[in-house]
Amino acid sequence: MRSEESKFVDHFRNAEEFLKDPEQARWHDRALWFVRQKRDTAAASVPEWEELRRAAETIKAHTLEHLGYYLERFEERAQANGIEVLWAEDAAEFRRLVAEILQRHGASRVVKSKSMLTEECGLNPHLEARGIEVTDTDLGERIVQLAGDRPSHIVLPAIHLRKEQVAEIFSSHLHTDPSNADPSYLTRAAREHLRRKFLEADAAITGVNFALAEEGAFVVCTNEGNADLGTALPDLHIACMGLEKLIPSARDLGVFTRLLARSATGQAITAYTSHFRRPKPGGKLYLILVDDGRSALLQSSRRELLSCIRCGACMNTCPVYRRSGGHSYGTVVPGPIGSALAGTRDPGRYASLPFACSLCASCDLVCPVRIDLHQHLLDERQQTIRVPEYRGKVRGLKAAAFLLRHPRLYRQSIAALRWLLPRLPRSLIYNRFNLWGREREMPSPAPRSFSELYQARQGADNER
């Protein structure tokens, strides 16, 4: 697949790099914590919030249990509605299908609304190599596209950029005033620029938030209206979805539309919650169902990860994500869910990601579908600890385990430490291998351990 496939992603180094700009790091942390707080307020306004989360978990688990059945039912209903349903085994087949459809319809200018799946499958470069212009129309995605950058968050793709950086990017591509970093000004400029792209486009590509098996329809949620405008003008619409986006019926949508935006941004609902059931008059509507590893995930102990509705709440709440930035994960989907998914794809390359987690479990509790994210990360450590990069760590841990298993030996080493520590020069204690001591002072052992104090106490009791 992609060329850097086997290169080890060192989250620790990447995070360290991110934290080298403390002001930017602080801003990133605060901006996302603010989103988390908006989520809290929105969730608190729904008295039955926890009940909704349990319902969402149940519906997703049920659908996954019968995924094959629901997929076939969906296909049948969607075809009856005039939607052409196609299946793609993997990313390569998906890219090929999209390119073929576009070429068959003579489409060379495509507007695309947000779809993590197309990022996952590397669709843009594939189409661009075939002379097809793809314009990402979500503002955040357009910013990173113009900058030649990558999204750092699944809901807020440009959260790693400050407005001054956006002003710079826009001034070189959209000829705006480089000194004007006002978000309204920049958004207006993007609106004008993208409006032209919308009017010129001969095809629209969208993602899918929810597909309805019973109705053969699908739902796309945006705030900007880019999926609606994009699909309203050209005659060709290609919707792309991973197999897991399915739910049984529109009657289950209440649960998800109530949870999604509140979890994502703290809005009660997205500005546009759009339902597509038939192509527009004279138009053509394709829907591509993509597997790309999902069926394997379904059969594994990580099946629950397929319940994710990509709200981004686990990222916003993650204390590590907020302080290391989305790019530190080296994945399309970052944060807790991204780390868990990456481990199922390439445990060697992404071995550091399950460890980029303090196991605080905050993500589990904000997740609208109640995925036990931290448990999955913990379980994945059983595999990822075995990569060559962690050989030293394992050796150290095994030595510690040996020591701790042998009380006499352990006591002796602590006694040695107690004697040694006050005598060693500081530079020797705080050497470069002392990762604890890089940022913190070491605690010092007490003059007498509790075990000794306890023994003395028992002795005194007995004498009395």
Partner: protein, 251 residues
């Protein structure tokens, strides 16, 4: 017959924080329990289990069960060690063994709250100070000793219910109930993020005018204490058990 409580002292507490262990012992005895300290005690195995080294984890789980399963209650001044034995030994011990062991395990405040009851607590030592309460993740989100801000459920806090029985104490909460960044080996493997998280917690407490931070997990406190000492931040750290037992002695 008075029920017997077994005291579990986490490995690093024994050597680095004996006063906390002593305070735990005293506070349990003061409630009228017969307290035993069975030996030899070993690590709960958390560092190994949390790194996916399950063979090592299994060995520690087994010696823990060997040592403690005969008791009515096992109490420790640590939510993370108790959480490990309660939830992470599943799959490491025989299911029946774990099923019997798990309900006997209590973090100290949890025990004082659930078994003794906050109203019946015998606490003799006032603590007339403003105290910032650090709710550790294991206490909050694993043992469910208080409502974490993520969940939309009624507010409660077993730790606060117990601690507020202390005369003169003023309990203060930081703005965020976020992780301090200790996380076991996370603190070294991800030391940069870990330190940033810890410094943010300290600064949050400082903004609330706090100079004494209390918690139920010494590991979190040890991490933040190390940071505060390095930075010269005026913040003192104390385990809740020591406040309860009147055993606070800031060097």
């Amino acid at each position: 017959m008075r029920p017997t409580v077994a005291l579990f002292v986490p490995c690093y507490v024994d050597d680095f924080y004996p006063q906390t262990a002593l305070a735990t012992l005293e506070i349990l005895e003061a409630q009228g329990f017969r307290v035993e300290y069975p030996q030899p005690q070993r690590c709960c195995g958390q560092p190994f289990i949390n790194n996916g080294l399950l063979d090592e984890g299994r060995a520690f789980a087994t010696s823990f069960a060997d040592l403690f399963e005969a008791y009515d209650y096992v109490v420790a001044p640590s939510s993370s060690c108790i959480g490990t034995a309660k939830y992470r030994y599943e799959g490491l011990l025989e299911p029946e063994r774990h099923r019997k062991l798990a309900p006997k395990l209590y973090e100290l405040c949890e025990f004082l709250h659930d078994v003794v009851g906050p109203e019946r607590l015998r606490l003799e030592h006032p603590f007339p100070h403003r105290v910032g309460l650090h709710n550790s993740c294991h206490a909050l989100r694993e043992l469910e000793l208080a409502r974490p801000s993520e969940l939309m459920i009624p507010h409660f806090s077993k730790i606060e219910a117990v601690l507020s029985r202390i005369e003169g104490i003023e309990i203060v909460h930081p703005e965020r109930d976020e992780c301090c960044g200790f996380g076991g080996t996370f603190s070294v493997q991800e030391s940069a993020v870990s330190a940033a998280m810890g410094r943010d917690r300290i600064a949050d407490h400082r903004r609330q005018g706090v100079e004494i931070m209390a918690g139920v997990d010494l590991s979190c406190l040890m991490h933040m204490q190390g940071l505060a000492r390095r930075d010269g931040t005026p913040m003192r750290f104390v385990h809740v058990a020591q406040i309860l037992a009147g055993r606070v002695d800031f060097e």
